[in-house]
């Protein structure tokens, strides 16, 4: 492949206080791709995303995005490059109502979704504007967290376990939405435990274990590699 | 014993809310007295020890006890803050040493709180209220309104002044008690203004008093024909208010630096060291320390009762007092002075702030012994 990757992560290490969590992560993502990070609980998937976006204290290595090193720029400038983040714990602000939460992230680029489109995607959010954000049910908060990023015009999205706690029907809907986004040319890194869901949209899978990337499996080779994968996931 | 230093303690508020009424001034005054006395008494060196009681009675009491018991301190001076003065005089009695109060004004010190080991020297609330009230009544201002700090000290000032006002055929047409934390007195000014009183008397001290006077000026009390009287005003308060605001106020004082040559001479030396002229507390600190040292020399001992006896029997004649004398209740009786604050036009210098209205003789100034509840007074 001739095209240079959109994101190139090399030797990424990260720490929480004194504990060394990532021990040299390497992977890359090309424009328009959906790439997943999978691995057991505690493998370092979330930490990898957090390191990219700049909310982990100490990091080392290089994360080249469109030629700039994400580790070297101020944390608040990462989003301005068009990177959107949907955190694992959803990060809904309890002191803001649903509408305020939705409108919260500034739109740093053109091309974001309009509110109506978001409501069409997640009907549960409709009519709940003035409810305090964290009063929503667990699943609704997840929808809100995804929805607000879609507004910002970000074209590179980091999604951390978007299906946790979501009812099966809605998981299908989220999957459909992500496929639409992909068609629009969006690049996505997805952290996911639900393999079936991941397989339905991803191009490639990186397997993480103990703070390292231990394998890379193209989506079309997933079935062939199921045994290997199950070993990694400890099933 | 022989040759061991004689120590004098200055227990005062150096860093707190009363620091401008005592603090550095008190320390300097006592030190000056010791130096002027020659630095020695009974052939023993004299030393001054100083402590900041931070307005905490326990700090004061434990310092006083430690000084008296193990530091060879024979006399403690200044004692501002009535709670502390009342407590430390009791310690002096317990330890049979001497305490002289120049800071606190509470007349309880020579009333129910009197001890055979303590002297209340410079001024007290009774004399101040009494002086000002008498003077204004004399000028024909018989209708009074009190603006009183709502605590024991304010109540005492108001009660003493009221007694004089009523005793002289005057009347009190109103009185409000402001909580001591109040910084805004405008509500009370409206009430004062609405009252028919000729005199608005402020029974309080410190910053709240100063703020009350400021409001009085702001609301034009003087302009509407009322006289503002302060029942306890320090020179420093007037200075801090500025003459523009304070002009015309009537007040009583035990001392004013510009009274005569003797006061000016002392004040000049004091001002060189402290940066401002002395007020009644400072002058009293100096005068009383001097009187004490002379008594020690005369008695040939530092024994408290013998020294007390000497101090009582010797009249005080210096720049502070003329024929001052210490009564059995511990009150030092001397003349008091009624002043009026000068107008900016009358003033010729930063500290040229008061003009004398009249002098009250000591016997008229202080609470007569016949009214005293002090158990030491046999009547």
């Amino acid at each position: 492949m001739a095209e240079a990757p959109l994101l190139n992560v090399k030797g990424l290490e990260a720490w929480y206080g004194e504990s060394h969590v990532l021990h040299g992560i390497d992977f890359d993502v090309r424009k328009g791709e959906v790439v997943t990070l999978i691995g057991r609980n505690g493998a370092g998937k979330t930490t990898t995303l957090r390191s990219l976006i700049g909310v982990v204290g100490k990091r080392r290595g290089a994360c080249l995005y469109k030629g700039a090193d994400l580790l070297k720029i101020a944390p608040h400038k990462v989003a301005r490059l068009g990177i959107g983040y949907v955190p694992e714990e959803r990060g809904i602000f309890s002191s803001l109502n649903v509408l305020e939460n939705l409108l919260f992230p500034p739109a740093w680029q053109a091309g974001g979704m309009a509110n109506d489109e978001i409501y069409a995607l997640f009907p549960n959010l409709k009519g709940r504007d003035s409810t305090s954000g964290t009063r929503l049910s667990g699943g609704e908060q997840q929808m809100l967290a995804i929805g607000r990023i879609l507004r910002t015009g970000a074209d590179f999205i980091l999604l951390d376990e978007p299906t946790e706690g979501i009812a099966p029907v809605i998981i299908e809907e989220i999957g459909a939405a992500l496929r639409i986004l992909k068609e629009r040319g969006m690049t996505i890194i997805l952290v996911e435990q639900n393999l079936r869901f991941a397989a339905s949209i991803a191009d490639r899978h990186y397997v993480l274990d103990q703070g390292k990337v231990v394998d890379e499996i193209p989506n079309n080779a997933l079935d062939a590699n199921m045994d290997r994968l199950n070993r990694y996931l400890g099933v | 014993q022989d040759g061991a230093p004689v120590r004098i303690g200055v227990l005062t508020d150096v860093s707190g809310q009363f620091s401008h009424e005592a603090g550095e001034g008190a320390i300097t005054a006592v030190k000056m007295a010791v130096e002027d006395f020659g630095g020695k008494v009974l052939d023993r060196p004299l030393e001054v020890v100083v402590a900041d009681h931070q307005n905490k009675p326990e700090v004061a009491v434990s310092t006083a006890r430690e000084w008296y018991e193990s530091q060879g301190v024979t006399m403690i001076n200044n004692l501002i803050n009535s709670g502390i003065a009342l407590a430390v005089t009791q310690v002096a009695k317990d330890e049979d040493r001497i305490a002289i109060v120049n800071g606190s004004g509470s007349s309880r010190l020579t009333n129910d709180g009197c001890t055979p080991n303590s002297i209340h020297y410079s001024y007290d609330t009774y004399a101040l209220a009494n002086g000002t009230a008498n003077q204004l009544i004399l000028q024909g201002m018989k209708n009074w309104f009190f603006l009183t700090a709502d605590y024991a000290f304010g109540h005492a000032l108001e009660a003493d002044a009221t007694q004089i006002v009523k005793g002289n055929g005057g009347e009190v047409s109103g009185s409000v008690r402001y909580p001591i934390e109040t910084s805004d007195h405008s509500a009370f000014m409206l009430q004062a203004q609405a009252s028919p009183a000729q005199v608005v008397a402020m029974a309080g001290s410190g910053t709240t008093f100063v703020n009350a006077v400021k409001s009085a000026a702001e609301f034009g009390l003087a302009a509407s024909g009322k006289t503002v009287a302060g029942l306890l005003v320090w020179d420093t308060d007037v200075h801090s208010l500025g003459l523009e605001t304070a002009q015309g106020m009537i007040l009583t004082n035990a001392f004013y630096w510009d009274r005569d040559d003797a006061t000016r001479a002392f004040s000049k030396r004091f001002e060189e060291r402290v940066g401002r002229p002395p007020h009644m507390g400072d002058a009293g600190d100096y005068s009383s320390t001097m009187h004490y040292l002379k008594a020690v020399e005369a008695a040939g001992t530092t024994d408290a009762q013998k020294v007390m006896a000497k101090m009582r029997e010797t009249p005080i004649n210096d720049f502070f007092a003329t024929n001052g004398k210490i009564r059995e209740d511990g009150r030092m009786v001397h003349d008091m002075y009624v002043y009026q604050v000068k107008t900016p036009a009358e003033s010729t210098g930063e500290w040229d702030i008061l003009k004398l209205v009249t002098t009250i003789s000591g016997d008229d100034a202080f609470r007569p012994l016949s009214e005293s509840q002090c158990p030491l007074v046999k009547n």
Binding site: R40, N41, G138, E172, G234, V235 | -
Partner: protein
């Protein structure tokens, strides 16, 4: 077994937040000794219903009978004492106490050894054995001395379960007990729920349909605050309404 008398009987239970009705006229009978699952789309009111049953929220209307007693007006702590105990959707442990101490607090509560401030801690030793047994039953025997905060997410859920079990409740209310657990833990927890379910009543909320179909005797489906179906897993999953509202195409 399905014919035993209902131990919890909620009738016309309603709760609204402002204008929004989260639980609407719900009638629910939980029979003693069964494992009863509550499913439904997000925001259907499952957690809210849990909160109402345990009085962590007050109902705006309706009545709750527990063991034939009206508990609608009772305080949450008293309800727990009667034997109706819950776990939380978001794990709720005592973070700075060890796993062992976490469980011991519950044992203490059960034994009413809680006010004695004049007695020594040593009196608590009598709970040690029981605590160890409970931790073992959830697979935490080797973690007894670890602080709860340092346990991984899945183990916290297990600890939460052990703590709840320590009260030996007659009725256990579990809110998404499997959420966030890895595949291995899900299997073990399911087995545990099945085993503690013997002789107890369990009411649980769960989105993992595998677990639900495996464990539950009876299922109630909620949608927008209302019950839309009730029955066994096969009955409920055959209901087209339920498939449309909850399960979607790929399950069945």
């Amino acid at each position: 077994m399905l014919n035993t008398a209902p131990i919890i009987e909620a009738s016309a239970l309603t709760r609204s937040f402002g204008g929004f009705v989260a639980v609407k006229n719900v009638d629910l009978k939980i029979r003693a000794g069964t494992i009863h699952a509550l499913i439904g789309p997000n925001g259907a009111g499952k957690s809210t219903l849990f909160n109402l049953l345990t009085k962590f929220l007050s109902p705006s209307g309706g009545q709750i009978l527990f063991k034939d007693r009206d508990i609608t007006q009772m305080a949450p702590a008293d309800i727990a004492r009667m034997g109706l105990v819950r776990s939380f959707q978001i794990s709720s442990v005592f973070p700075h106490l060890s796993a062992h101490e976490n469980v011991r607090v519950a044992l203490q509560a059960r034994a009413k050894e809680t006010f004695a401030f004049w007695r020594s801690n040593a009196t608590l030793r009598r709970f040690d054995e029981e605590a160890a047994r409970l931790l073992d039953s959830v697979g935490l025997a080797d973690r007894a001395q670890t602080k709860a905060a340092e346990l991984s997410y899945g183990r916290k859920r297990a600890l939460e379960l052990a703590t709840t079990l320590a009260l030996d409740p007659e009725v256990l209310l579990l809110d998404e007990p499997m959420a966030g657990m890895g595949t291995e833990d899900i299997g073990r927890t399911a087995a545990l729920i099945r085993s503690v379910g013997k002789g107890r009543t369990v009411l649980m909320v769960e989105h993992n349909l595998g677990v639900v179909s495996d464990l539950s005797d009876r299922i109630t489906v909620l949608r927008r605050g209302e019950v839309i179906a009730e029955g066994s897993y096969s009955e409920v999953s055959a209901d087209s309404e339920v498939r449309k509202a909850y399960m979607g195409g790929s399950h069945g």
